[in-house]
Amino acid sequence: MRVVVMAVDEHAPTGEVWAVARGLATDPVVVVTPRPDGWWGPDDAAVKRVLAAAWDAPGLLGALEAAGPADVVLWPATDLTVAARVAVARQEPLWAGITALGADPAGSVQATQPLFGGRVVAALERPPGGPLHVAIRRQAVAALPLSWHADAPDVVPPAASAADPQGRVTVESRGAAGGRDLEQAAVVVSGGRGLGGPEGFLLLREVAAAVGGTVGASRAAVDAGWIEPERQVGQTGVTVAPRVYFAVGISGASQHVAGMARSEHVVAVNTDPDAPIFRYADVGVVGAYEPVLRGFLEAWRQSGKGAV
């Protein structure tokens, strides 16, 4: 299985691509990097060739032309837009949201993909022939630790025939990204429709500050305008895997669970004892969130813990 790894940077999505490549590639891989002075990869990576290209559609089309025949091109989950441009330009299929990828000796590629927020599993099989572009779902596999390899790559010119329409977009203003701290937080305190209004998030922020965490939200809370969209946890929003995840007033829709199911410990607070969220919780509290959290804060502070 001839694999091309799109190694954009040192972050987890690239480490996840390397983890999948390790299990899939039978030959040394071709690495594509945006840096002309080196690339990010595991220490023991078996590499056939390293190509440096501009990280846009013309640049990466040029890199894939130079890479030669490939069976699978692996993309980080954070690079879907450019992956789409490249796959469409090359008229090759593109899969995303993949949680497991394998191949048989005959060259067929098999993949697993969750649907409907994880309620359904799709088993995909592509017969041998032609390259396939695959983006691995965030946090579906353990990312490999990456090191900097200061080997000078072959710098590849962009494909002559390609143009990138993304250049027509002008950024007029850009606020701080809100999802990064959520992804990396050890404790996430999330609220949903059960909070009843935006004021509920004030109490959640108080709890998050006391336990050294950050605040998240379900889609219902974001849709209601109670909190900014950057805070949304779920299949559409940020995928989190903290040490402790508090789900407060969240029913447990599968799309939300898909974004937090890999949390080490889950604490759910809900008035409805039959709420689906309790299926995914290690600790459950059936009650109104406000007195529960007030009691929690009181006891937490009395124990001498917490920053407040």
């Binding site: 559609a57 879907l80 837009t81 789409a84 441009r85 796959a87 090759e92 299929p93 593109l94 995303a96 649907l115 409907f116 927020g117 309620r119 359904v120 599993v121 799709a122 995909l124 143009a163 329409p165 977009v169 950024v171 007029e172 850009r174 999802g179 849709d223 209601a224 305008g225 109670w226 969209p229 950057e230 559409t236 929003g237 040490r243 402790v244 829709a253 799309q255 410990h265 604490v267 309790f278 299926r279 919780a281 290690d282 600790v283 509290v285 059936v286 009650g287 406000e290 007195p291 529960v292 959290l293 007030r294 009691g295 929690f296 804060l297 009181e298 006891a299 937490w300 124990s303 813990k305």
Partner: protein, 319 residues
């Protein structure tokens, strides 16, 4: 009509009449007239053409296409037997539009509220009879539904986007922007809007929460949110935008009058769009249950339960 600089330039270009206001000489269609006598005619012709073009441009309102896909209603739990049924995904008894597709439609309708005359066309592709659902989009305010009868489930996102690209290209008048939910609500890969932008050769904007039209600059202003953070972009027409929920774009609730009016609005079945063959085989199965062993915290009242929760978490050293 209040012409502005760009409209006048367009008028000259459209008419093909080149007029020198300093010399009074005219070329093109006016060049054969006597030099002196043509001065007023040329000027009048120029003004007429310019005004005609301005009028054309001003009456050529925006045309927004919204991609809306019927999916299983997320409020109704899927049963294992439904998932194992061979028609799973192709025949849907509990169909609803993807929640983000509804946000996309509302975003288009808000744009139309601010740019009267804008046309909103819903584009949907599936191989099932979902007319009642399509009527709900018309009741919410869409002007027309264009339905392409094909089965997208065996196709990868790039192939689906190819079908949609051919559909959008066939719409008249030409589409100025395509809005779609950031994810569909079933496969949830978020790929189709990106692939559609690639197939059309248009820019793509992710995480859109509001779209405005600047008629002077002839650019869309797009407010964005989501994991990338809040921001504002400008982009010329046409473009593809993936819309997220933001609390400001929940789909409006139709009145009874809207529902009645929707019955008279057109649902156009678009035949003849080329659909590629599938490149992979797909099988579906219910996901294995991953239930955790939940310990419920007890207490005389909710405050007491909260205190007990703090004690439990401290004892387990989770925090």
């Amino acid at each position: 009509l209040k012409p502005y600089r760009e409209d006048v330039r367009m008028g000259v270009s459209f008419s093909g009449a080149a007029v020198s206001l300093d010399s009074g000489e005219a070329t093109s269609g006016f060049a054969t007239r006597p030099k002196g006598a043509g001065k007023c005619d040329a000027l009048a012709g120029f003004v007429f053409c310019a005004m005609l073009e301005i009028a054309k441009e001003r009456t050529r309102f925006l045309h927004i296409a919204v991609l809306m896909k019927p999916v299983h209603n997320p409020d109704i739990p899927l049963k294992d037997e439904e998932i194992r049924d061979p028609t799973f995904g192709r025949r849907e008894a509990h169909a609803a539009f993807g929640p983000y597709d509804e946000n996309a439609l509302e975003t288009a309708l808000v744009l139309r509220d601010h740019v009267p005359g804008t046309r909103v066309t819903v584009v949907s592709g599936f191989d099932d009879d979902q007319e009642p659902l399509l009527r709900t989009a018309l009741a919410a305010g869409a002007d027309e539904v264009v339905w392409v009868p094909f089965d997208p489930w065996p196709l990868d996102a790039a192939a689906v986007a190819g079908v949609l690209a051919r559909t959008v290209a066939a719409l008249d008048p030409a589409v100025d922007a395509v809005l779609a939910g950031v994810q569909s609500g079933d496969w949830d890969t978020g790929l189709v809007p990106r692939c559609l932008a690639a197939a059309m050769g248009w820019p793509f904007v992710d995480g859109a929460v509001a779209v405005r039209w600047d008629a002077t600059a002839k650019r869309f202003w797009v407010d964005t949110g989501g994991a990338a953070g809040p921001g504002t972009l400008t982009v010329p027409k046409p473009f593809v935008g993936a819309v997220i929920a933001a609390g400001t774009n929940a789909l409006r609730y139709p009145t009874m009058r809207d529902r009645l009016a929707a019955k008279r609005k057109p649902i156009r079945r678009l035949e003849g769009i080329t659909v590629p063959a599938p490149t992979a085989a797909v099988r579906f199965a219910p996901a294995p249950e991953t239930r955790r062993a939940t310990v419920f915290v007890q207490g005389a009242d909710d405050m007491e339960k909260g205190r007990a929760l703090a004690t439990l978490l401290r004892e387990r050293s989770w925090l």
